[in-house]
């Protein structure tokens, strides 16, 4: 397959905000390559630097150090109006003194397109976001979801090389948000534009992204596809932030070419596929997804022993909280077999079977 072009290249970008009484490093040596026609998500808690990175790409801020390239061209210090990058703002920032149509045609007018072409493009984009009937309305007279669509249309109309979306769905209610998620994927598919999406919602990131970067404290912790990041989190923060995880402390007791042995309790030693970063004697943390462990009624055969302290029924599956014998809690999500009453009861002693190929050894 042909190698896809790099649309946006962020090269060791650093952003330091200085004021009289404080210096904040919002971005610390961040490097990311985003491919053409990719739906790329920047995910992290608030204050992690994801919005700062977006503003650097849009041109509202300039990095203290490092470069930003758009299809190879250095755009680090270009003003926003000279880069083919458009933003869908968190609060939409629609022009209140213009109609829906005027908002959408604004970018094209600024690029000095001929009038006939502007009209044609705006009409087709109105159709794309299904807003034809409301074209002559004021932006203050339409609902939040419609404003969101106008903001999208306005940013898409000039056909930017890259579209930036800043927490653009967070103001919508749940149902509307799900519709917009589907809509966004459709638009991205139909326009072929590279989307860079900023969110703090891990579920949104997992469902929508082709690839994503998990950020915290101004640094990129891990870049990969949603399934890579979910199944193989590189750090404890990633495993905690995305989905639920159980953490087990252990000591490496030995390793060979194919396996590493980790003792997690005086009586239990696990054999895991080897990882190059660990050595014998090291303290490590193991991450176990709740759905990757199974409960058994014969504790002696399992890796961990304890008793059920809480169970919550979710229809397709049940969440069990196990109080382990060493005092820690462990969560297991187990699928419900149709027509069967669960064989596990609150308080019953159980064992937890670990799937040794899906566990992650994390650097601390």
């Amino acid at each position: 397959m042909k190698e896809r072009q790099i649309a946006v290249e962020i090269n060791t970008a650093t952003k330091i905000f200085e004021s009289k009484d404080s210096t904040v490093t919002a971005l610390d040596q961040v490097s990311i390559e985003i491919q053409e026609n990719e739906f790329f998500t920047l995910l992290g808690p608030s204050g992690c630097g994801k919005t700062t990175l977006l503003r650097l790409i849009a041109g509202f801020e300039h990095p203290t150090d490092g470069q930003i390239r758009l299809y190879g061209e250095d755009i680090t210090f270009l003003p926003p109006y000279q880069r083919s990058v458009n933003t869908v703002f968190q609060n939409y920032a629609l022009f209140p003194h213009m109609t829906v149509r005027q908002n959408i045609s604004f970018g094209l007018e600024m690029l000095k397109y001929p009038k006939a072409e502007i009209n044609k493009t705006v009409n087709s984009i109105l159709k794309l976001v299904r807003m034809e009937e409301l074209a002559e309305r004021r932006t203050s007279d339409i609902s939040g979801g419609q404003q969101q669509r106008v903001a999208l249309a306005r940013a898409l109309a000039p056909r930017p090389k890259v579209l930036l979306l800043d927490e653009s769905l967070s103001a919508l209610d749940y149902k509307l948000r799900q519709d917009m998620q589907i809509e966004l994927k459709r638009l991205q598919h139909e326009t072929g534009i590279t989307f860079i999406f900023v969110t703090h919602d891990q579920e949104e990131a997992l469902t929508m992204s082709d690839r994503m970067a998990v950020m915290n404290f101004g640094q990129v912790l891990q870049i990969g596809s949603p399934s890579e990041i979910y199944n193989f989190p590189a750090e404890r923060f990633v495993a905690e932030f995305i989905g639920d995880s159980n953490f087990l402390e252990g000591v490496v007791t030995g390793r060979d070419d194919t396996h590493v042995r980790i003792r997690i309790s005086p009586t239990t030693e696990l054999q895991l596929p080897t990882v190059s970063t660990v050595e014998t004697g090291m303290q490590v943390t193991l991450a176990v997804r709740p759905e990757q462990a199974t409960l058994t009624l014969s504790p002696s055969e399992a890796s961990l022993q304890g008793s059920i302290s809480n169970m919550v029924y979710f229809g397709t599956h049940t969440h069990y909280v196990i109080k382990l014998d060493n005092g820690n809690s462990f969560t297991v999500h187990q699928q419900n077999l149709s027509g069967h009453e669960s064989q596990f009861k609150t308080g019953s002693p159980v064992g937890v079977q670990l799937n040794q190929t899906t566990m992650q050894i994390l650097k601390d």
Binding site: A58, G59, F60, P79, P80, Y81, V85, N86, T87, F89, N91, A93, L94, F95, P96, H97, M98, T99, Q102, F106, G107, M110, L111, R138, R154, A155, P158
Partner: protein, 318 residues
């Protein structure tokens, strides 16, 4: 009594509506009572005198000033027409008309200049941090501490033939003879701009401060250069401030008295000076009164035209 009834029946919706209606009535009454002092001041200080001025326009001039209580249209006649003393022919009062024209022209120029100077100033203040903003606003109000006459004389020192500007220009060899600025229409215009500039800056500041700067970012993002962001986004959104500031500068400029008197040197009369002249040396109170009402009329027409034209642009956008 209906109030106490409605209170006991307040559970039913009808009774509740009655109660709120009574409540509203009572509130309106107390609002009205609270307005009485202000209404009295308005009546005594504004409406009353204005009515007297209007009545004076239809009376005959007294020989030593004042009016004679006899119906006459001479006052109004003299606003627009003049009668030759020798042959009695009637012609248009071109001296008055040129003063009307000068007043409107200079006031308009002052307003535009105040807007051009005031907009960047207001923008600058509105974009400072909250703490320093108050300091800048405070600085804007400092000229109000000084008497208007003293400020006007200060301008004289700047623009007269031996003033700061001419002295320096000659010193650096840019000009050989001083540029005549004092006692010209330019001096009046400059003076009025200086005096009324704060009245432009303050409402502009109030509008710009409320401006959502994310909209400015959005426009930059959509390929608008700085100038286009100004014209297409900032100016339309701060239009209320521009309108308020323009009105606050234009109206007092139209009736200005001290500034044209001092900086115009008696050669370049404006409406305010003409009116004063009729009540003073001219001893023609009906004419002075008719000129005052004419000034009021010019103000109202200008406002109407201005507000209408800005509204029409709005409709054009929608």
């Amino acid at each position: 009594m209906s109030e106490s009834n409605s209170l006991t029946l307040s559970k039913s919706g009808r009774a509740h509506a009655l109660a709120t209606a009574a409540d509203r009535k009572r509130k309106l009454r107390s609002y009205f009572l609270l307005c009485i002092p202000a209404l009295l001041v308005l009546l005594l200080a504004a409406a009353g005198p204005l009515l007297i001025v209007l009545v004076y326009t239809f009376l005959e001039a007294g020989p030593y000033g004042g009016v004679v209580w006899q119906l006459s249209l001479d006052g109004w006649f003299e606003v627009f027409l003049k009668e030759d003393i020798f042959d009695g022919t009637v012609s248009i009062a071109d001296a008055h008309l040129s003063i009307f024209w000068r007043s409107v022209k200079l006031s308009f120029q002052s307003t535009v200049l105040a807007l051009v100077l005031g907009f960047p100033t207001a923008y600058f203040i509105a974009t400072r941090s909250a703490a320093t903003r108050n300091l800048w606003l405070f600085l804007i109000t400092i000229p109000f501490w000084t008497n208007l006459l003293i400020r006007t004389f200060a301008i004289m020192q700047v623009i007269r033939d031996q003033g700061i500007i001419n002295t320096w220009l000659i010193k650096f060899g840019i000009i050989e003879a001083p540029i005549e600025m004092l006692y010209t229409e330019f001096a009046i215009m400059l003076g009025m701009t200086y005096v009324y500039l704060p009245l432009m800056v303050l409402p502009l500041y109030a509008s710009i401060e409320k401006l959502d700067f994310r909209l400015v970012e959005a426009a930059y993002d959509l390929y608008a250069t700085r100038l286009r962001v100004l014209w297409r986004v900032i100016v339309p959104l701060v239009k209320p401030g521009i309108i308020a500031g323009s009105i606050l500068v234009f109206i007092p400029s139209l009736g200005a008295y001290v500034t044209p008197r001092v900086l115009g040197g008696g050669k370049n009369l404006m409406l305010g000076n003409l009116i004063e002249l009729q009540f003073g040396q001219g001893r023609n109170w009906p004419l002075g009164a008719a000129l005052s009402i004419t000034l009021l009329f010019i103000v109202m027409v200008s406002l109407l035209v201005y507000v209408r034209s800005t509204q029409r642009k709005d409709i054009g956008h929608g």
